[in-house]
Amino acid sequence: MSGQLVINLIYILSAGLFIYGLKMLTSPATARQGNRLSAIGMLIAIVVTLFDQNIVDFTWIIVGLVVGSAIGSIAARRVEMTSMPELVALFNGFGGLASVTVACAALFGSEVSTGLAATIILSILIGSVTFTGSLVAYGKLSETIPSKAVLFAGQRVVNGAILLSIIVAAVIFSLNPDTTSGSNAFWVVIGLSFLLGIMVVIPIGGADMPVVISLLNSYSGLAACAAGFVLNNNLLIVAGSLVGASGMILTNIMCKAMNRSLGNVLFSGFGAVTQQADAIEGEVKPVVAADAYLILEAASSVAIVPGYGMAVAQAQHAVQELAEQLEENGCEVRFAVHPVAGRMPGHMNVLLAEANVPYDQLVEMDDINPQMGGIDVAIVIGANDVVNPAALDQESSPIYGMPIIHVHEAGTVIVLKRSMATGFAGLDNALFYGDNTRMLFGDAKESVMGMVAEFKG
């Protein structure tokens, strides 16, 4: 017994390292070291577990560790930064499935009581929903399946019925947790939980995926928690709770940034847009790169507002070069990043960091907005809805109330855009018709490179 005691004492050390590692994630300066501390905590937990007295054969452990490490390290090295949402979605799914298999192993490995059976079932339910839900999210993000919201009449009734059947089967199984006679109820729970995971994610549109992967991230933590209850393991509960809380916070931030409730995201695909009541007055003032250069050359402060369109055009390196040119010209440059820019929380920051934009130039929306009036030029690249002033003053607009970056308050706004096509929400944008707005039409990368060329003279 003393062996188990020592193992559990060392688990406390691991938990401490996880917690301290997360604490160091509060600043980009210490974050990398924090991640390493967390990894050391994990390594200690794994090594000390190998001394568990119940382990008699290491063959399959080694197989699992080797195969898992190989797949994990290849995925981590090969993934493109633009594909991070897909990778995180997949990892969420693996986390869920790992909890399912651990719970199943506990069930098939020994006789279980009703109480234990109930926690096993809970672990299987959360893990299965996380697994299939994440696979659907992955499919939508990578566009291997259509990213559109799949809605049909009576969807909520069907989902409710599935959930109810799971609960009934779970109760039946828990009362008689015998894997031979009670196994029918058990398979019903697993099968329907997998189905439920698919059903809850298909009605969510591609643009809402940042919310969904945050939520599934949270579920994968809760699945680890549930597995902790099955195994009576504190470390699983602590680590799972940290992940669960993290996912919940991110889900909340994403919902707020889109001005939608979680319920609205989960149950109604971003629907048809009602036509805007009032037509926008004013005219579009197109410019060419040389004109834009003259405006920028005279500016002493510039805010660059990147949207996912910038990443699609692969323009981030060119944008970074433009920022460098501006700075050499004695101009203060900042990147104003909207929380939903990119396809997952914080995604745009990673894409900019990859293009060598220093992190002290990355400014959050709430920090830049009060200063926008004093900024000479705002450059909007591949963003549309997140700078649409209709969100502030047009109550009839579907995006009314959504927080935006107030670029229209800047001295001059240069908007880089392929054409006058509307953004994701399908709305016209009064910003493009503003007195202080200049439109630079064309491919974002080419437009930015055009401006850089002017600077280089």
Binding site: P28, S38, M42, G64, G72, A98, V238, L250, P345, G346
Partner: protein, 92 residues
């Protein structure tokens, strides 16, 4: 009593998580998520025992699958997080 004790840990850990993570700047939210993936791979600890204990073959197979899946999360999660965080540099 065991369940009460475990629930106690659960509640405290969730509060701690909220306190810690609400202080993470939005700049680092993507590495936070991939790091969370790695931490949720902690299931590997339970999986190791399931894969190595002397029990029915079914349980061993399930345990091995769990070790593999959780290890993918642990190794992949920490590595990709490190790769991302290495890109965040301060102005020269």
């Amino acid at each position: 009593m065991e369940i009460v004790y475990l629930s106690f840990i659960l509640v405290l850990a969730i509060f701690l998580g909220f306190e810690l993570i609400s202080k993470v700047p939005s700049t680092l939210h993507t590495p936070l998520m991939s790091g969370a993936n790695a931490i949720s791979g902690i299931t590997v600890v339970g999986a190791l025992v399931a894969a190595g204990a002397d029990q029915e073959t079914t349980a061993t197979i399930l345990g091995t699958a769990a070790v593999t899946l959780a290890t993918i999360n642990v190794v992949g999660g920490y590595m990709v997080t490190d790769r991302m965080l290495a890109m965040f540099k301060k102005k020269h």
